[in-house]
Amino acid sequence: MLKTRIIPCLDVKDGRVVKGVQFLELRDAGDPVEAAKAYDAAGADELCFLDITASHEDRGTLLDVVSRTAEACFMPLTVGGGVRTVEDIRTLLLAGADKVSINTAAVKDPDFVAQAARKFGSQCIVVAIDAKRTSAPGEPAAWQIFTHGGRSPTGIDAIDFARTVTARGAGELLVTSMDRDGMRSGYDLALTRAIADAVSVPVIASGGVGGLDDFVAGVRDGGASAVLAASIFHFGQHTVAEAKAHMAAAGLAMRLDA
């Protein structure tokens, strides 16, 4: 049967991992390729690179990282950050990305998702949805899409947007709660569940993992097909294997043969 995926996410800036990675035996904690190899060996089900490079000129560095990672790790790799054109997607796929995550460009123009899916197939088009809760306590829950790293509100309802981009051909949604990101208080399960129930494609829960039970809740209560996390793995709090064992013990179907 299909297993729940665990996806470590690496923030990459100018070709280096920017959040510290302190686990296993990395020769160079800042080298994303070394980090990718370590996660590959640790049994991660996929890997995500989020490019937070400030300038467009440094894109070449990211492409080099992607291609060196793809050569070293025989596991699926999703790359996101700054993807604006069909040409950006093609360049990342040719460098070795298996999936490309689109964020701001999809909000600006949902038809971009349709173009991308037509050209490359839905299976490699992930839409990243960054959402903040906008309803007051006691009101029916509502979330709004934010772009530019959470700085720009759009007025777009997150659930409507999830339906829109899925209808345009997104093959997967990466749902990040801006309220929970970095808070270590767990995923926004109501958000994850609302989107997972609204669409027929897989949803990746992201933002806020503080402990292993959060992964279990993301799947069981949030309805996610995959769980993404950064700090909990990078800082050595838990290994991927521990996370998998914990989720399996909670009754979730996990891949334990890696």
Binding site: L2, S67, F74, A95, S122, C124, G171, D257
Partner: protein, 219 residues
């Protein structure tokens, strides 16, 4: 079997460099001196000892890409049908072995494994499409490509990412399937021609073992 040439067909369908690396590693670990080449040259495909047809994207788009390389379909056909060389299709490359694909508009395939490529329709509405992630294989019959690979619920996992699947007319072409709200064809083989719906080049242990089996295969 030293120094066999393995042609991975490049027809503009995604990154083949990492696929080539996976084949190189599998060959190295299996002690084979296979020479792996990513190529868009029909002559090299026609004369290769083994041929791999990858494929990522939409069916019609991939078919167009293949047809856009002059002489490639003829070269593949020569290698697979006249020289009877081992041939492996991967993902959409496997789907192209079918008679036709039904993604968007019906598109003719190669017709080497008779059947249609139709949308996955899991019986459980809770199951998401695309079928994306790691699934186990259920063996329908023994075949060289699965030799030594643990299958079944406690077996190794393969990485899938697809919304359409091959439904062969002759069920004996199916070597293995996965369960996803019903059977999903995972590995097909007929004579010297085989195909995987999953991505062996992304499937870690199972993938490297299957690739090594392909490199040793004597159909």
């Amino acid at each position: 079997m030293t120094g066999e040439t393995v042609a991975i067909i490049d027809y503009g369908s995604g990154n083949l460099h990492s696929a080539a690396k996976a084949f190189e590693r599998a060959a190295r670990e299996a002690g084979l001196a296979s020479r792996i080449a990513v190529t868009s040259d029909p002559d090299r495909v026609a004369s290769a000892d083994r041929v791999v047809l990858p494929g990522v994207g939409a069916y019609a788009d991939c078919r167009r890409g293949l047809d856009a390389v002059p002489g490639m379909v003829e070269a593949m056909t020569h290698a697979a049908k006249e020289r009877v060389r081992p041939f492996l299709g991967i993902c959409v490359g496997m789907q192209l072995l079918a008679t036709r694909g039904l993604e968007h508009t019906p598109t003719p395939g190669l017709g080497w494994i008779p059947g249609d490529v139709a949308p996955i329709a899991p019986s459980d509405p809770e199951l998401k499409v695309p079928h994306m992630g790691w699934n186990t294989l259920r063996r329908d019959r023994d075949q060289a490509l699965l030799e030594g690979i643990p299958t079944g619920e406690t077996g190794l996992h393969a990485y899938f990412v697809h919304s359409y699947a091959l439904i062969p007319e002759d069920s004996s072409d199916v070597v293995a399937h996965s369960e996803y709200g019903g059977p999903v064809t995972a590995l097909v083989a007929r004579d010297n021609i085989a195909g995987t719906q999953f991505h062996p080049e992304k499937s870690q242990r199972l993938g490297l073992a299957l690739i090594a089996n392909f490199l040793r295969w004597r159909p």
